[in-house]
């Protein structure tokens, strides 16, 4: 409820459409309700008096009312669509603005998949539900109530039938919705089981094949599949029972109408047209009831969507700009970690434990260690993608929390493990690194990243379009572009997070050479699983299990660190390729 209330604030500018939509729907409904009454008049007055002129007059009125109804319906559609589209577009834009500002921790807590679903499906559901609410959910109840009122005024003799039939109908719908809601929840659970089994089969196909458990898997799937079928059967058969029962109740009401009406006609207290009108209104009532119960389900779904959207709305962005910010002229690039500990979840396992080290401006720092030892996490703290739980990180002696975020990140060139590029031209992507970049800037950076050789071969050079997900470049090409993007900033601190994994040995040497020459004054962090990439570093941090196990130059580590020796030894075979 609270969620809806928050979202509805976005409807304010469009309140006029949201009011006009239902109003126009009222016109359509009242015209619909008028039809049977006019028909009754034609029969009871026109035919009874053999009055051709009267019949034609009323016939034309009926046509006119149909036209007015059409205007009402069309108008309602126009305004409802206006209200819903604007409403949804505003929400979408608000949610997007918020998510773009999310810190990594915020994004992690939602998960990319969920955020995408919220921004696409959930908002679309809200839009659809809004249209339905403004139109059908107005139409259904209006038809229902309107019919009852009209029967009260024009066919009061037959009204007692409604007193019996309507409560039964409503009770039926209520009972079935409650029951089917539960049953379909069970279906969903069974469906989840089937999906899990399926996913496991796909992910574990090698294991299944290795143990040759085809038959076992068949049995396992059979049991969940069977469960799904049974639950589906129960649920669907129940749902499909509702319709015949409702039809039957209405039909019995019609028979009651014919019987009571027949008696009254024979007594001379009722005219035949009234019976016909009554039958018609019964049908309209039924239609109204059914359509509103269907819309109710869409609205229920919209509520859970609204809940998810508001979660984004409520999320607190946790990396905040500090109030006392320091604004030095230039960042030199001295980086120091002091007793830094960090965990991804508040009370979870520490991924980094008491990390302390110092990198002088212009030094090259190599970081090596097994997967999960905390290498990537360590460097992510430098541009404040996350804040440490305890301890502090200093750049040029200033705590990074006191450096304006924009300034801090401006000074850092970060090449992440996964080369994420965006759809657009190469120029557009390199432009992430620097505003208003020139061709010279680009070719310089591309040269350094060993990317010019393949860019120059492209027909459109820097105008080359990348597809979404960059499916039209190889892994190595992507990594080189993502390096060029970072180089182009001319950063004071450069972070290369295992960014050469898909690059051939030759190109890597080119990059390393260029780094040495062009970035002598830049502090460089290189994370790599290959010893060869960090062998020349001024300082190598050997990470194990969230701690710095050892620290020193290659030569020093060979004698002091067992872990390092092991890593080095296991790679010597591969290392031969580079030596």
């Amino acid at each position: 409820m609270r969620a809806m209330k928050i979202l509805l604030k976005n409807m304010k500018p469009y309140a006029i459409f949201a009011i006009l939509g239902p109003l126009f729907m009222c016109i359509e409904v009242s015209m619909d309700l008028l039809q049977p009454t006019i028909m009754q008049k034609i029969i009871d007055t026109g035919i009874a008096n053999s009055d051709n002129a009267y019949i034609i007059k009323l016939g034309i009125i009926m046509l006119l009312s149909a036209v007015i109804g059409l205007v009402g319906g069309v108008g309602s559609s126009v305004f409802a669509a206006k209200a819903a589209a604007n409403f949804a577009a505003d929400i979408r834009s608000e949610v997007f603005n918020k998510t773009v500002q999310f810190s990594n921790r915020n994004s992690d807590s939602f998960g990319a998949g969920k955020l995408i679903t919220i921004l696409t499906n959930d908002i679309a559901t809200i839009q659809q539900a809004t249209i339905m609410t403004l139109r059908v959910f107005v139409r259904g109840p209006l038809l229902f109530v309107g019919s009852i009122v009209i029967v009260w005024f024009t066919a009061r003799e037959l009204f007692p039938i409604l007193l019996v039939a309507i409560p039964i109908l409503i009770a039926c719908i209520y009972f079935f919705s409650i029951k089917s809601g539960k049953l379909f929840l069970n279906v969903q659970k069974a469906m989840d089981k089937v999906n899990t089994k399926l996913q496991e089969m796909l992910a574990g196909i090698r294991v299944i094949k290795a143990f040759d458990h085809k038959g076992y898997e068949h049995q396992q799937f059979k049991s969940v599949n069977e469960l799904l079928m049974k639950r589906n059967m129960t649920a669907e058969q129940l749902v499909f029972t509702l319709m015949p029962i409702m039809m039957f109740i209405v039909n019995i009401a019609i028979i009651a109408g014919l019987w009571m009406g027949g008696l009254k006609v024979s007594e001379g207290t009722l005219q035949v047209g009234v019976i016909l009108a009554f039958i018609n209104y019964l049908n309209i009532m039924m239609m109204g009831l059914m359509s509103s119960s269907n819309v109710l389900m869409i609205i229920a779904r919209a509520f859970s969507s609204a809940g998810r959207i508001v979660e984004v709305h409520d999320a607190q962005i946790d990396i905040a700009e500090s109030k006392e910010t320091y604004a030095s002229e230039d960042i030199r690039g001295e980086v120091e970690f002091k007793d830094v500990s960090f965990s991804y979840s508040q009370n979870g396992e520490y991924v980094l434990k008491d990390i302390s080290f110092k990198a002088e401006a212009g030094q090259t720092i190599g970081i090596i260690g097994s997967t999960g030892s905390g290498k990537s996490t360590l460097v992510k703290l430098i541009p404040r993608l996350y804040d440490p739980d305890s301890g502090e990180i200093l750049i040029d002696g200033v705590n990074i929390k006191n450096i304006p975020l924009e300034r801090l990140r401006q000074a850092i060139g970060f090449v992440s493990q996964k080369a994420t590029l965006f759809s657009g031209t190469i120029e557009y992507n390199l432009g992430f690194g620097k505003e208003n970049l020139t061709i010279a800037d680009m070719s310089q950076a591309a040269q350094t990243a060993a990317a010019s050789e393949f860019i120059d071969k492209l027909e459109d050079k820097y105008e080359h379009q990348l597809m979404q997900g960059t499916t039209n470049l190889s892994g190595g090409q992507k990594q080189r572009l993502s390096m060029a993007r970072a180089f182009i900033r001319e950063p004071h601190i450069l972070i290369l997070d295992d960014s050469t994994s898909a690059i051939d040995a030759l190109s890597e040497t080119v990059v390393q050479q260029a780094l040495k020459e062009d970035y002598a004054n830049t502090t460089v962090f290189i994370i790599s699983s290959k010893v060869s990439s960090i062998i020349d570093a001024d300082k190598i941090l050997v990470m194990e299990d969230g701690r710095i196990e050892a620290c020193g130059t290659h030569e020093e580590l060979l004698t002091t660190s067992r872990v390092y020796r092991n890593i080095y030894a296991s790679q010597r075979g591969g290392g031969l390729m580079y030596e």
Binding site: E28, Q35, M39, I42, S50, G59, V67, G73, V74, V78, A81, A84, A89, R92, F96, T99, A112, I116, T120, Q127, I131, R135, F184, V187, M191, V194, E200, L202, G204, R206, F211, D212, F221, K222, M233, E236, M243, P244, M247, F248, N251, I252, I255, S266, G273, M286, M290, S370, T371, L385, S416, T420, F422, Q468, R565, A569, S570, R572, G573, G575
Partner: protein, 608 residues
Amino acid sequence: MNKPISQPRPTVMSRARGPFGLKQPTEKPKDGKGTIKRVWRYMEKQKVALIAAVCFAIISTLLGLLGPYMIGVIIDDYIIPKDTAGTLKVLIILASVYLAIAVVTWLQTFMMVRVSLRTIRRLRQDLFDKLQTLSLRFFDKRTHGDLMSRVTNDIDSLNNALSQSVVQIFTTVLMVTGVAIVMFSLNWILALVTMVVIPLMYFITRKLIKYSSNYFIKRQRDLGELNGLIEETISGNEIITLFGKEQKMNQQFSKINERLRHSSMSADTISGFLGPINNFINNFGLAVVIAVGAVLTIQGHASVGIIASFVTYSRQFFRPINQISNLLNMFQSAIAGAERVFEIMDETPELVDKKDAIAVESFKGDIEFSEVYFGYEEDKHVLKDINFQVKSGERIALVGPTGSGKTTIINLLMRFYDVTAGEIKIDGCDIRDYQLSELRRKIGVVLQDTFLFSGTIMENIRYGRLEATDEEVVASAKLASAHQYIKHLPEGYHTLLVSGGYNLSQGQRQLLAIARAILANSDILILDEATSSIDTSTELEIQNGINRLTEGRTSFVIAHRLKTIENADRILVIYQGEIIETGTHQELLKRKGFYYDMYESQFKHYNI
């Protein structure tokens, strides 16, 4: 009397149709006829139920025609002549007709749901089984998402179509024809008047759909573009933060969002017209029927009862026509979905047993690779001219840099893939001559990527040998040094693992995988980097277990830490897809080649 036409089902699955389910451009099947035939073959098994459902559908439609007719008769022949006794008699008959309609309609849907769900169950199971017969090459080519959606979404849409639209399309046609016949037999003039409305309705709907489809395509395009941007932004959020591009992304988003605002407004407006217009045509038709009917009645060519019947008939007539295009769309996209399902069914498994494939009791364990070449893609050999022989009971180690082809050798031995050239023999027979399942069952393997299933730890170890007792499971866990940590879990062996086993550490998972392989008790054992994430002291412990296990059995070990393979009977050094050195540890050291270099660099700093 109003037949339930297309009543949206409140199932969660039907939601998969997408947010704008109503009038999206429908996908057309490529070979509709062929696919329908194949779906039919699946339904054939339930022919009796199906025929029953169709019969019920016919009966309920015919009875549905009877209702309005009887109302007309009651009004004209009994109520207007004031014959109350007669009225009562006919009303009782009418009541029983209505009761029959309700029962028969219910029976028909009951049957149809049954037929459809059973068909679907078989189809889903067959697809699952089929997927399992396909070789790894097939899975290498496809994403999990694509395969998942075929088993879930595509099959569900077929279910919807089978349980609803098939019978509805059928009854709609029946109903429309029936109503037309009855109307003409009641009063041909009124019938003609009613019919005039049809072309009008058809014409307007067509126009509207054609007109609106432009808007839908536009909205779909904008939506696609926007979703693309959303996806990119969210998955690339880190980069956007790092480079401070939040504002720029917002601007791009706004541009597309504005376009979508307008295109979706137009699309929704136009599609919203369909309801009022149909309503208008209904009302228009009703007005004409009543007015003309009244005039005819005065002239003696019709009666009040006939008007009453026509009012109901015209409703029964128009509604199905309104909905038939929806039904056909639904049916069409279901067939397209079924086509995608059958596409998988038609995949031929790359690896199949020969006709006279050998079933083996047990392997002695002699293995021979002769002139084996292999590539995952054509022309790109990962293995080149691999030759070696292993005598029963030998312990073989494979070493070499990452990507040199060690795991590929294992993949070939397990026959996950077939060699491109050359042959692999076990006990003197080409492995392609053995029954595939027997072959794999005799080889126990701990794979590089340990995959565990959702379920308890007990169940996961037992996966190695399904009929093993609890005691045997615990025993093999002890051998694998897994017992130690399992014991300390709050639920012990009954601890539930999530799919993939990701609530355990990589090392713990490896220990379980080893226990699983130990339990399998196979003739040939393969350990592919099985201990890479396990600390050194535990590794030594397991080593003892493994040594006992591999006693007298042929075994292959791949390891980066050379210490673990020192005691192998023979070491094969693989470099860039070729065997460059073979021999025992001592022999290889003496040779002072590649292995010597590797070993030296790894151990020269230990004082051994």
